[in-house]
């Protein structure tokens, strides 16, 4: 169970994401130069956890946003993405000022368009765009084979298919985009403990994806012989339009004729309209790993009593019960 997975009973299990990040980046901090001090504030300025509950209790680092910013005291976990690391990542660029050339080393909090996955065993995997991948492949993480050029979600599904994220209920961290705004990423770093709610952390906050429903939708597509349509926006157009509030009963009627069993497919779709907008992108990633992902999902519940009335739906599109 989840509550037995927590290492200390005192620690709030919602802080599991911070714990995993802290453990996964131990080498990064060991090779860096920074001074810690005892904070004068009640809590970390970034994640707002009391100093007694952070991973390194009562150790803070001074931080300023630019030359005009006031001094802030952040915990070691929130400071970690701001640490420039020559050893773990490598040289980002040379800062040229007149005749002086200063090396600038890579930071986790400056990986734009890059993702990350931290497994329950606190192993960090990074996905980088090709240019950043070339830049950082000589670093220690690059040498350990933790970098890849896949998309973050594709890497996550591959790790899931390999069994690296087992047991899922112990919690793993999925970072969609490290970005440039560390405070936005670290303020609500949320771990994922169930595929029904995959928490996608990024620099602009955290959002939810129902991966369970996505896999069941992919399975429905496969059984109905529509696997080739999974990532086509034109196939999903009536569903995407309805999720944005632009309904077209005629197009929806034509779509119902294309699908062999529309009631079962619509029953499998995620409920949230924001997730339905991501259907083509996510399903295109899920499809190659479908067979390995199915064991993580419970079989779909039999159609509920209101859904038994689906045949009238296919005759006369009553979109209200579906959207």
């Amino acid at each position: 169970m989840k509550e037995t997975g927590a290492p200390q009973s005192e620690v709030n299990p919602r802080y599991r994401g911070y714990q995993l990040l802290y453990r996964a980046t131990r080498n990064l901090r060991q090779s860096a130069f920074f001074t810690t001090l005892t904070p004068k504030t009640p809590s970390c300025a970034c994640c707002e956890r009391p100093w007694a509950e952070v991973e390194a209790p009562f150790e803070a680092v001074e931080y300023r946003y630019g030359k005009n910013g006031g001094t802030e005291y952040v915990c070691l976990t929130c400071y970690t993405p701001r640490i420039a690391s020559e050893q773990m990542l490598g040289l980002e660029r040379m800062n040229v000022t007149g005749n002086t050339r200063t090396p600038v080393y890579g930071k986790l909090g400056m990986l734009v368009g890059s993702g990350g996955i931290i497994t329950p065993a606190a192993e960090l995997h990074l996905t980088l765009p090709p240019k950043l991948f070339e830049k950082y492949r000589q670093g220690q993480w690059g040498q350990e084979g933790r970098l890849s050029t896949e998309k973050p979600l594709a890497r996550l599904l591959a790790l899931l298919a390999q069994g690296e994220l087992d047991p899922v209920s112990e919690g793993f961290v999925y970072i969609e985009n490290w970005g440039r705004k560390v405070d936005g990423l670290m303020r609500h770093l949320t771990p994922t403990t169930s595929l029904r709610e995959l928490w996608c952390n990024s620099e602009s906050g955290v959002s939810v994806l129902d991966l369970h429903a996505m896999v069941l939708t992919a399975q429905q597509l496969k059984t109905q012989g529509l696997a080739a349509q999974a990532d086509r926006i034109m196939f999903w157009k009536p569903i995407l339009d309805a999720a944005e509030g632009k309904r077209d009963d005629k197009a929806f009627g034509q779509w119902l004729e294309k699908v062999p069993d529309p009631a079962a497919l619509l029953h499998a779709l995620p409920t949230d309209p924001h997730e339905r907008l991501k259907l083509p992108a996510v399903l295109g990633t899920v499809m190659p790993h479908l067979d390995a992902l199915l064991p993580y999902c419970e079989p779909p519940a039999p159609l509920q009593i209101p859904m038994v009335e689906a045949p009238p739906v296919s005759r006369d599109p009553q979109q209200g019960s579906l959207f």
Binding site: K2, A45, G66, G70, G184, T271
Partner: protein
């Protein structure tokens, strides 16, 4: 905020009835990390009415002594055959814990209306729009509607016009649908059309986090 005073929280089950509360939703609702429940909304409304955010207030709901929680469901999106649940992207300034310009040490730094290069700009939030919001509960529905008039907006961005609601009507509920909220026991969710998830949440507005089983964040119900 002690446990000693919990006995006088809520109203007697004899005076209460199970009901379904219907609210009209006028602007996109941005859900917080934790989905609002009727008891948390009523607690906030009672605080506003009494202008007192320090002491707990009695709510017109039944307090379930066995489960140590109010019988009040979480927010459910109510759709109709004409209008479904729609996705809207809402941009507003995210949580600012400090005004950087007020904390500035260099007073001659250029003053900019957007806060400068390092300040957070508009953040895109996920808003959801549908015609109605539904809450189920057991208690005094008229007192609940009266209290809810103190809450014109729900969710994130409530001070910026997001999630504008009007309490509209209530009707009797026969299915005990108030169980659609977080509980200590998984059995409380038996018979409901979703799979409960394990989480750590507080059960009452004044408690602390504990292991619970809760419904999914997005619940949707079709209104005839």
């Amino acid at each position: 905020m002690g446990e000693a005073s919990t006995s006088n929280r809520g109203i007697a089950p004899a005076q209460a009835q199970p009901f379904k509360l219907l609210l009209q939703l006028h602007t996109p609702l941005v859900l917080p990390r934790i989905v609002p429940r009727l008891d948390t909304l009523l607690q906030e409304a009672a605080c506003r009415r009494a202008l007192d955010w320090l002491s707990p207030h009695p709510l017109p709901l039944v307090f379930d002594d066995a489960q140590r929680a109010y019988r009040a469901s979480q927010l459910i999106f109510g759709v109709t055959p004409q209008f479904g649940l729609e996705a809207h992207t809402v941009g507003f300034m995210s949580y600012l814990y400090r005004l950087p310009l007020l904390a500035a040490r260099n007073v001659r730094a250029p003053l900019r209306i957007d806060g400068g290069d390092w300040a957070p700009k508009l953040t895109q939030h996920k808003g959801r729009l549908c015609p109605y919001l539904i809450f189920y509960a057991e208690g005094d529905p008229e007192a609940c509607m009266d209290l809810l008039s103190e809450i014109p907006h729900i969710g994130l961005g409530y001070s910026r016009g997001q999630g504008a609601v009007t309490a509209m009507t209530f009707e009797r509920d026969t299915q005990a649908c108030w169980r659609q909220r977080s509980w200590r026991d998984q059995e409380m969710h038996v018979g409901l059309p979703y799979t409960p998830l394990a989480d750590h949440l507080r059960l009452t507005p004044w408690g602390s986090d504990e292991p619970v089983y809760r419904p999914p964040r997005i619940l949707r119900e079709v209104l005839a």
